[in-house]
């Protein structure tokens, strides 16, 4: 699925509640032999040696992969085996080392093997960077001099940045509204016909396409040739067929944003539809029947019974797509590169970092993005803490 949707919103509670679940402790009974301090030290030294050895072997492999001139395919296969095997080997060696320690130590260290690698990587890649970006955001382009809030002043007052905020707001409202709206309509309609699966599959398919691929598809649809020539872009062909003037869609202020957002709607409607559709299956038919017996029409049933029932799902889907729209990057980057008034926050951040090498401003804009998702984060944590059993 197009880079989207990995950041997720948790569903409004109560759908699943975990029962209070006991956790166990490891109960290994090993025949402990009395050992001398020297032997203990020797064992520890040997374990450390093995660990260092494994790291060394992996590092040599890495250097070989980085500098070797072997054919592409062979490098690829070795890289895959080395990468995947390396991780498995590290797990195995860590387990081996820990089980050479005493029983009680092994018991205490056991969770570290399982949870430790994940926590280390999360700390390195997401947790600490948030703090570091916050720190960098108070410094100048080269991260040398403290500049106070200057980068934030830039982030909120620069004309391009203000344009980005307005555009992201457009993305958020129209993109989310469009995808969820179409998703809901199609889910409701498809629920009532025999060919449901086929229809849903086709609507869902764009989910598998990258933003870049979708960008090319839609650039072609929007492509423009001067009046009088045969139009090869579908949209202009339709316009000229009805006697209109061909338009260069990407240079039309404000509207060009809508044309870009249409791509997101095309991609994300399938996601919204699939999730909403499964929620629809969960609406008890008895309530709907009761509504029918009371003489409610189809629209009334949808409005008064079905929508309230699936409201938590609608919220979840909306928040997930809202997050996607907040950090929308690839579509704008490949389609207009932020020109003609289509700039967005994530693309501004990319440009500050890699075009102007202004790490202070780039970091400040990234922090602004984090601030924007904090409500969703709070909501997720709230949903999570409501669930019992952790």
């Amino acid at each position: 699925m197009c880079c989207a949707g990995r950041e997720v919103a948790l569903p409004a509670g109560a759908l699943v509640s975990y029962s209070q679940r006991g956790t166990y402790m490891t109960t290994i009974e090993r025949q402990g032999k009395p050992t001398s301090t020297l032997a203990k030290l020797g064992r520890i030294a040997f374990s450390v040696l093995v660990l260092v050895g494994v790291f060394f072997v992996l590092w040599v492999g890495f250097i070989f992969l980085r500098d070797s001139n072997a054919p592409q395919g062979i490098i690829a296969i070795i890289a895959i085996v080395w990468g995947v095997g390396g991780i498995a080997l590290l797990f195995w060696v860590a387990d081996w080392v820990i089980n050479r320690t005493s029983v009680t130590t092994a018991k205490k260290l056991q969770p570290i093997i399982f949870v430790g690698p994940a926590l280390l990587i999360l700390a390195w890649y997401l947790f600490i960077p948030t703090v570091r970006s916050l720190y960098l955001s108070f410094f100048d382009a080269q991260s040398k001099n403290f500049v106070g809030l200057a980068n934030y002043v830039f982030a909120f007052t620069d004309s391009k940045m203000r344009e980005s905020f307005m555009n992201n707001l457009l993305w958020l409202i129209i993109g989310t509204g469009g995808a969820v709206g179409f998703g809901l309509i199609i889910a409701l309609l498809a629920d009532r016909v025999k060919m449901e699966k086929v229809f849903k599959s086709i609507i869902f398919m764009p989910m598998a396409i990258s933003f870049v691929g979708a960008g090319v598809i839609w650039r072609f649809i929007y492509s423009y040739k001067p009046a009088g020539e045969d139009q090869i872009g579908l949209l202009n062909a339709i316009v000229t067929f009805f006697g209109g003037e061909p338009q260069a869609w990407f240079t039309m202020p404000v509207w060009n944003n809508i044309f870009l957002i249409a791509i997101l709607v095309w991609l994300q409607t399938g996601y919204a539809m699939v999730i909403i559709s499964s929620a629809l299956k969960g609406v008890p038919s008895t309530i709907i029947e009761a509504g029918r017996i009371d003489g409610a029409g189809e629209f009334r049933i949808i409005r008064s019974i079905i929508i309230p029932f699936i409201a938590p799902t609608l919220i979840t889907v909306s928040t997930t797509i809202i997050i996607i729209t907040l950090k929308i990057f690839d579509i704008v980057f490949t389609m207009t590169n932020g020109n003609y008034g289509t700039e967005v926050i994530a693309s501004m951040q990319y440009k500050q970092m890699f075009r102007f090498y202004h790490y202070g401003r780039g970091s400040a804009i990234a922090i602004v993005l984090v601030l924007a998702v904090i409500p969703v984060m709070w909501y997720n944590l709230h949903q999570f803490s409501k669930r019992e059993g952790f």
């Binding site: 947790f127 229809f199 398919m205």
Partner: protein, 302 residues
């Protein structure tokens, strides 16, 4: 009375079907147009709309594909049988690069996430709740926050432009969702399954490899497809951590470059876009069931 009601019902079903068919056509036209254009000769693509083939005129050719897949010197034959040479876009190399980046970027986070999920679900250790709360909080943190700090680390230790660097980056960015999804699954494995294993004196690592991994296959499949599509379709992480060098560039990077350098060469752009799309679409059609399950687990089931 009854027949009248049924007639009304039939009429409504027909209207619903028609509306759906219209929507489905709108949704599939972009892809159909792309596929048709990628198979038409250069002159046709650049001068007439792809829909004109339905009038019956126009040829089909694989030359566009030969050219975008070919290396610096792509050789192909034109309609008159002349052998032409032109600079290709070397997407075949990018294709291999994409696989090299994607396969470990899917397997490594799954291994680490499953291990962590097992630890969180079935082990007691101090800070367990705090750490898992942090994982849930990190679910929504935009990866943009990490680009500058991680790139600085990579420059210090020489990981920029390397496969290891991008695998680890995708692992880091994919872990919160991975741990979260797998935790939901692993924590529902019945307690008895583990108990007997423990009574037999099995170590946690043995239980993990022999029981948890095999039992979690459905969840792992869903997460795997999700992560596969995410990594394969990613542009930003590749741009930042693989850099611009062409010998490691992945498909999305190459396609983005083609858009820049061949902005109006629609015969090549459409072929290139289709090559970038083909693997995810195959995955999507053959493994749709798992994919949908993964989506559900990610949002509805929670």
């Amino acid at each position: 009375m009854i027949s009248l009601a049924r007639k009304r019902q039939n009429k409504w079903t027909m209207v619903v079907n028609i509306v759906l068919i219209v929507l489905v056509i709108i949704w599939s036209i972009p892809i159909i147009g792309l596929l048709i254009s990628s198979l038409r000769p250069q002159d046709d693509v650049l001068n007439t709309g792809w829909w004109t083939i339905f009038k019956g005129d126009g040829d089909f050719t694989l030359n566009n594909y030969r050219r975008v897949l070919g290396g610096s010197q792509a050789t192909f034959t034109d309609a008159e049988g002349n052998v032409l040479r032109a600079s290709g876009d070397n997407l075949s190399q990018a294709f291999i690069n994409s696989f090299t980046v994607t396969i470990p970027s899917v397997i490594i986070p799954i291994l680490i996430a499953t291990a962590a999920a097992f630890g969180f679900a079935w082990m007691v250790f101090p800070g367990r709740k705090l750490f898992f709360t942090i994982v849930v909080a990190l679910l929504v943190v935009p990866l943009q926050i990490s680009l500058i700090p991680i790139l600085r680390d990579y420059m210090k230790i020489g990981l920029t432009g390397s496969y290891l660097g991008i695998w680890l980056a995708h692992t880091g960015f994919g872990l919160p969702l991975g741990i979260y999804l797998l935790y939901n699954y692993v924590s529902t494995i019945p307690r008895d399954v583990f108990e007997s294993a423990f009574l037999d004196g099995a170590r946690p690592m043995v239980i993990f490899v022999r029981l948890v991994l095999p039992l979690s296959v459905p969840a792992i499949a869903s997460l795997g497809i999700f992560q596969f599509l995410w990594v394969w379709n990613d542009l930003l992480v590749a741009l930042v951590f693989l850099g611009g060098t062409s010998d490691v560039a992945v498909l999305t990077q190459r396609l983005a470059n083609m858009v820049g350098s061949r902005g109006q060469d629609w015969h090549l752009l459409t072929a290139g876009a289709f090559i970038v799309m083909i693997v995810p679409i195959l995955v999507f059609f053959f493994l749709q069931r798992y994919f949908v399950q993964g989506l559900m687990a990610g949002s509805v089931k929670g």
